[in-house]
Amino acid sequence: MAARTVTRADLSEAVYQEVGLSRNESADLVESVLNEISDALVRGEMVKLSSFGSFSVRQKGERIGRNPKTGEEVPILPRRVLVFRASHVLKNRINASLSRSSG
C-alpha cells in the first residue's frame, strides 16, 4: 500500500489547479473550509458533507481510568469528542479500489 501523506499543500494545489485562484488565495480557502467546519463543531453542531461523511460531537461522562505504567487510578474528566462517520459513497470508493489492488 502506498505510504504517501497528503497535506494542506496538496489540497491547496488541487484548488489552484481546479479553480484558477492564486496559490495564496487557494491556501487561504482550504484553511477557511477547515475553520468553518471546526467552528461549527465547537458550537456543538453536526457537520454533514454529502457523499463524504459526517462529523459529530459526542459528550463523554467522567470515568475512572488507570495509568497503565503505574497501575494508579486517575479520573478521566467529562469531555467532548469528535466522531467521524464515513458515508457509504466514501466507503465504497475505498473498498472498490483497495480490494482490487490487494486481492
Binding site: M1, A2, A3, R4, T5, V6, T7, R8, D10, L11, A14, V15, E18, V19, L21, S26, L29, V30, S32, V33, L34, E36, I37, S38, A40, L41, V42, E45, M46, V47, K48, L49, S50, S51, F52, G53, F55, V57, R79, R80, V81, L82, F84, A86, L90, K91, R93, I94, N95, A96, S97, L98, S99, S101, S102, G103
Partner: protein, 94 residues
C-alpha cells in the same frame, strides 16, 4: 451544518468569489481527500485531524439470528483521528 450551508458561509465571507467557484473549491477539497484514501494514502491536516484507511481482515462471522457461519471478506474502512488543536478547542469551554 450541511455542505450547502458550508458553501453559503464561505460565499458570504468571500464576496469577491462566485458561488459556483466556492462550490468547486469545497468539492475539490473533499474529492482530493477521497482520492487519496482510495489510493491507500493518508491525509494529514495539522490542527484539524488525519484521515487514514484501516484494513479489516477476512473473518468468519456469524448470523446472530440463526447462528449460521458466514465468510466476511477483507474490507477497508476510513478512519479519522481528531487533531490536537481541534480536540482542545472542543473542550475549552467554548
Amino acid at each position: 451544518m450541511t455542505k450547502s450551508e458550508l458553501i453559503a458561509r464561505l460565499a458570504a465571507a468571500n464576496p469577491h468569489l462566485y458561488q459556483r467557484d466556492v462550490e468547486r473549491i469545497v468539492t475539490t477539497i473533499f474529492d482530493e481527500i477521497t482520492n487519496a484514501l482510495a489510493a491507500g494514502d493518508r491525509v494529514e491536516l495539522r490542527g484539524f485531524g488525519a484521515f487514514s484507511v484501516k484494513r479489516r481482515g477476512a473473518r468468519i462471522g456469524r448470523n446472530p439470528r440463526t447462528g449460521e457461519s458466514v465468510q466476511v471478506s477483507e474490507k477497508f474502512i476510513p478512519y479519522f483521528k481528531t487533531g490536537k488543536q481541534l480536540r482542545e478547542k472542543l473542550n475549552s469551554g467554548g
